[in-house]
Symmetry: C2
Subunit: 345 residues, 2 copies
């Protein structure tokens, strides 16, 4: 059996020396190396920024969506959207475990798991499309995938439906990071607070900011704002276009009496929202860019351009215990669980 | 006289509602609004990632470089490289000050200043190229530029040559942020430590990390490494290709006895160095991406892909007092001043 590198570099076809995530093409042959895990895939949860782009390109036609997804995997050996660069994650059943992982992993054949590494670096083969649930970015397939030795995963909990767990785990990094960033008394804006990761962030922000804090939700549609309001996830709600920086600046200024936000969490799934995030933040404050549609130079030069001394953080999808922290929100909050079950499970 | 917005939105031609930095095209008509400052430009300091790209495209031909620069400004009304998205900064003389800035600014007509906002949002007109100093990314021109009300600047100091000040101010954010991030005893890697911003970061990192710290410089050429060594800017030197993540991982592992870095500062001017930066960092550590060639998704998904719980920071070009902090390095360190004078002034 062939010996693999923990990071999966042995699967990289092009360019040589790259890691699987930035690689243009990886090997998706399903014969495992000694330190790999083979997964029988059931559902892909495509990253929201990626799926939004694919739906647009496909003009929302199901067959067209399938054909785009298929050709991405054929080209790259992984489901990495060539426009957004992002992936998503998957759930499935452990089918084989490489012998050199024995004693190193708590997994056994037959375990139901979610991979917590991006699809953008996961060797994948799609044999058949079973169902496309396009409003929740979920795609049931028949197919196989490989998890590398350094790849993280979560065993699916038995006290909630799998699709519910999948939808929460997809954005697990966001609430876990929110928990770290928000302090009592903070003013927090969640840009895209009406979305999947956004609602989890709002809940976590409210818990951390406490009674002396202010949590502001920005969404773009009445229906999503109403839903968020009903669940009482924020203290204030703004309906606005997230790309309209000056309009949002004025609205946040009014709610905060000109003080602006200590922490802005960006969870939108569309481009060109860097400046809105920056202008809403007070000097010394933090912008957490969870959105995969974020552009690095627009953020860096945008803040410089308006002379804002703020700390801008790249939304690392991983943070310690993020799976446990985010899944627990479904146990902690009946409201969140109700909404997530309705929407995604 | 027309009234302007502090952020310069009044100059945006396309798309409507955008701010000048992300805008595709801005108005570079040199008739000022009531809150603008007109600058008679002397030298452009083109951002290193941008100039590297332009030189490659021009196959290093001076006339071709001019023609690319000219067409960028004609297309966009500003010098924003369409590939890298980045700009640079400029020095010149204050020619006119909008009446509504009176009492609000300490500038007067005739002052020699450097703008500290990116060229990627600065209305610019190039009338003539005077000299292209292609090895230091500096271009002398005849032309005019506009500084917005929210735009930051530094009055050029009288105790050093202007080109020296220009080269330091171009990367002022980097050493000032290093000063904030590095703590005594830290292990720090500066990826691109042999470059302009890199050397300033090394110096500042060594000062902050102190005798119990370890400062490691990564460069790709013998000549630049020798220069940095001679000035004793780091404790260890690695010659490597910054895009080769696995090679660098091994080299940093050896120097740090497997502990890896608390802080990695990325100041290279080429793409695909996100994974190297991430793999060098210990769990809980910080990567500071100053490089304008950084790709957001590659950083976010790359860290997740290898399960690294690290804090990744977008290199905001601005931080409080960055001009004063960085210029002072030229007074504090004879060695740095000597090298910078030789190379850039
Ligand atoms: N590793 C990672 O860092 C990671 C992992 C997963 C996801 N992500 C990223 O996180 C982001 C959010 O994912 P998600 O699953 O939470 O997406 P989602 O449920 O689709 O939510 C998107 C949010 O964006 C808002 N939005 C869209 N267009 C808007 C506009 N023009 N103005 C204002 N708001 C607008 C939506 O508000 P309305 O519905 O009210 O319009 C909604 O609140 C995506 O960019 C995704 O790529 C990152
Ligand atoms: N607002 C901001 O955040 C801001 C402002 C200004 C600049 N920047 C960015 O900061 C970065 C550095 O600017 P600078 O003026 O300091 O540039 P610079 O002087 O040209 O330095 C570039 C550095 O990258 C290194 N490098 C290039 N290719 C390499 C490779 N293949 N392997 C290893 N090292 C490599 C060079 O090392 P060798 O010479 O040894 O090869 C050098 O140390 C640029 O990306 C620039 O865009 C950002």
């Amino acid at each position: 059996m062939k010996k693999g590198c923990p990071y999966g570099t042995h699967r990289v076809i092009e360019p040589k020396g790259a890691l699987p995530q930035p690689a243009l093409k990886i090997n998706n042959d399903m014969e495992i190396y000694d330190n790999e895990i083979l997964i029988d895939v059931q559902t892909l949860n495509v990253d929201s920024a990626s799926f939004t782009q694919i739906r647009q390109e496909a003009k929302d036609n199901i067959e067209e969506i399938k054909s785009i997804m298929k050709s991405i995997v054929e080209d790259k050996g992984k489901h990495q959207n060539p426009v957004t660069g992002s992936g998503g994650m998957l759930i499935g059943t452990v089918e084989k475990i490489g012998p050199s992982l024995e004693g190193k992993t708590d997994l056994k054949v037959g375990d139901r798991i979610a991979t917590l590494v991006s699809l953008s670096l996961t060797p994948l083969r799609i044999d058949e499309f079973v169902e496309i649930r396009k409003d929740v970015d979920q795609v049931d397939i028949k197919g196989k995938a490989i998890l590398f030795e350094s790849g993280i995963y979560a065993i699916l909990p038995d006290d909630m439906p799998e699709n519910l767990a999948l939808s929460v785990l997809d954005v697990a990094g966001a609430p876990a990071q929110t928990a770290k960033l928000v302090k009592p008394g903070d003013t927090v804006v969640v840009l895209g607070g009406t979305g999947k990761s956004g609602m989890l962030c709002l809940y976590e922000a409210k818990k951390r900011a406490g009674v002396t804090g202010k949590v502001i939700c920005v969404g773009s549609r009445d229906i999503t704002i109403e839903r968020t309001k009903k669940a009482n996830l924020a203290d204030y709600y703004i309906k606005a276009n997230a790309t309209d920086a000056v309009d949002l600046l004025e609205k946040v200024k009014e709610i905060t009496n000109g003080e602006m936000a200590d922490v802005v969490i960006n969870t939108v799934n569309i481009p060109n929202t860097e400046m809105s995030s920056i202008l809403m933040t007070k000097d010394g404050g933090i912008v957490y860019f969870f959105s995969m549609a974020t552009n690095f130079t627009k953020a860096a030069l945008g803040a410089e351009g308006v002379g804002k001394d703020i700390n801008m953080i790249v939304g690392n999808g991983y943070t310690k215990d993020h799976a446990a922290i985010s899944l627990n929100l479904m146990r902690e909050s009946e409201e969140l669980r109700r909404i997530f079950t309705e929407l995604y499970a």
